[in-house]
């Protein structure tokens, strides 16, 4: 190794007073790194104490819940006697709700796979890094893509009679429309806020909204034969 070093290393002076870490800055690293000098505290005890506090409060809550609400236990499993409705655990009820509308391949495979893949690729997806408002660049193209996508999804959901998913979709689309016609310098704070949101934000919000609506519907609004029931009636 006769070449000159690729990096320089430095170290703080008084290790006893305040230990410091060494950072190797390679050549490829951008030189314009600026990190604001923030106030820092010792993890022990400050940080740990707060974590412990948070966990303790959670534990108190869970202990109290456990003392006064018993976990459900029904009759012994009986393969000959299907309860009506037979429901999956609550976190799958959104999926089960989808299964009610779509062929199993779509609801049971396509949607979950797309979801997981989408979640995995979000950080690698270019637009996210820019973190720009969706309609700030290439506005025309993006707007037409949005129209096509929103219409396509809505028609698709309408075609399968999935009004439960259609309503949140339409609501999100409406907000996106508002965002599309809002300037980042709008006087309204909420419009400014919407206008600044990138596409990943919109997709995630849509997903979250759907997830909540479908899970709530599957948990509370579905009765025998997966028919629509109102939880407050009987």
């Amino acid at each position: 190794m006769t070449e000159p070093k690729d990096f320089v290393a430095g170290v703080g002076s008084d290790i006893r007073k305040s230990q410091k870490r060494v950072l190797f800055v390679t050549r490829r690293t951008s030189a314009q790194v600026k990190v604001s000098d923030e106030e820092q505290v010792q993890t022990f005890p400050e940080g740990l104490l707060r974590i412990a506090l948070a966990i303790e409060i959670l534990a108190i809550a869970l202990v109290l819940i456990s003392l006064f609400f018993n976990a459900p236990l029904e009759g012994i499993a009986d393969p000959t006697n299907t309860p009506n409705p037979a429901k999956a655990p609550w976190y799958f009820l959104g999926l089960q709700e989808m299964l009610h509308y779509f062929p199993p391949v779509v609801a049971g495979v396509l949607i979950p796979t797309v979801l997981v893949v989408a979640l995995v690729v979000i950080p690698y997806f270019n637009v996210n890094i820019e973190a720009d408002g969706l309609f700030l660049k290439n506005r025309r193209r993006r707007l037409s893509i949005f129209y096509v996508a929103a219409l396509g999804f809505s028609l698709f959901l309408w075609f399968f009679d999935v009004y439960v998913a259609l309503v949140p979709t339409l609501i999100v689309a409406a907000f996106m429309l508002i965002a599309a016609f809002s300037s980042p310098h709008s006087s309204s704070r909420s419009r400014r806020y919407l206008a600044s949101k990138p596409v990943s934000w919109w997709v995630m919000t849509w997903f979250l909204f759907e997830l909540i609506v479908l899970t709530i519907v599957g948990t509370f609004f579905r009765g025998p034969g997966w028919s629509w029931v109102l939880p407050w009636r009987g």
Binding site: V41, Y91, F92, Q96, A107, L208
Partner: protein
């Protein structure tokens, strides 16, 4: 904080035995405190210092820590419950009944396990969305996000496999319905379900498989990925700090690993 030298605890702390175990001691100097983190197998996944800003509730809502907390509760209660549980049909159901009716505080432990499991699923979801909306998934944390997605799946699977174990109607039909979803997968869906259940129906084989998954395989996987997850937090520069909004708006800057250091040495070109 230690006051004076008379307390039993303080005297205990000064013994050789204590100091051979807890090397760092509880000195109030920064060094001592740093050592307390560094020299502990479990705590050393944390960095020794943390930005004060990150300790506020609004930054993280402590969702990650809370998720970990529920996981600890689940491990402890789960191990205790295992001692009264036989994964066989119909004994499993009788065991759960016994937990309810004759084991001292058995019902409490089962409740705690059950509700903590629900809480964990909820918290994992919340954690994920919180991370997303804070933008904390962005490079260089993208890999940790992926690990987070894996942990989400593991959590769901843990909860799902545990759902069958009481072997009651709720469990049986929830798993029957749930497992039928997987058979919708073309080509290998049926095979996957066959492997998962160890048969074509939810029966004793399925119970045993779910038991092993729930008690051994998935918890181990969860521990492993949690370790990686936490290690990555450190490697990726600690808890994510959001830069002030206006700065980004005017001049978007790529972010680089932000470390806990006060000083950054800039390399030569």
């Amino acid at each position: 904080m230690p006051d004076g030298k008379g307390g039993y605890f303080e005297r205990l702390e000064r013994t050789r035995v204590w100091r051979s175990v807890f090397r760092s001691g509880t000195g109030s100097s920064t060094l001592h405190r740093a050592l307390a983190i560094q020299q502990n197998l479990f705590l050393h996944l944390f960095s020794t210092k943390v930005r004060r800003r990150m300790l506020g509730f609004r930054a993280t809502w402590y969702l990650g820590a809370l998720t970990l907390g529920t996981f600890f509760i689940l491990v402890i209660t789960g191990i205790l419950l295992m001692l009264y549980y036989h994964p066989s049909v119909p004994q499993a159901y009788a065991d759960v009944k016994d937990l309810k009716f004759v084991v001292s505080s058995g019902m409490f432990l089962r409740n705690l396990h059950r509700w903590s499991a629900h809480a964990m699923v909820l918290l994992v979801f919340a954690h994920m969305f919180r991370v997303f909306y804070r933008g904390a998934y962005r490079p260089p944390r993208e890999f940790n996000w992926v690990i987070g997605v894996i942990l989400l799946l593991i959590t769901l699977l843990l909860s799902y496999t545990g759902y069958l174990l009481p072997w009651d109607q709720l469990a049986f039909w929830a798993i029957t319905v749930g497992s039928n979803i997987s058979s919708a997968v073309p080509v290998f869906g049926d095979k996957a379900r066959f492997l998962m259940l160890g048969g074509h129906q939810v029966n004793a084989n399925a119970l045993l498989r779910f038991y092993v998954l729930h008690c051994v395989i998935l918890p181990l996987a969860a521990v492993l990925f949690v370790a990686v997850h936490m290690w990555r937090i450190r490697k990726d520069g600690g808890l994510y700090v959001r830069q002030s909004e206006p700065a980004r708006e005017s001049e978007p800057q790529p972010e680089v690993p932000a470390t806990d250091n006060k000083e950054v040495l800039v390399g030569k070109r």
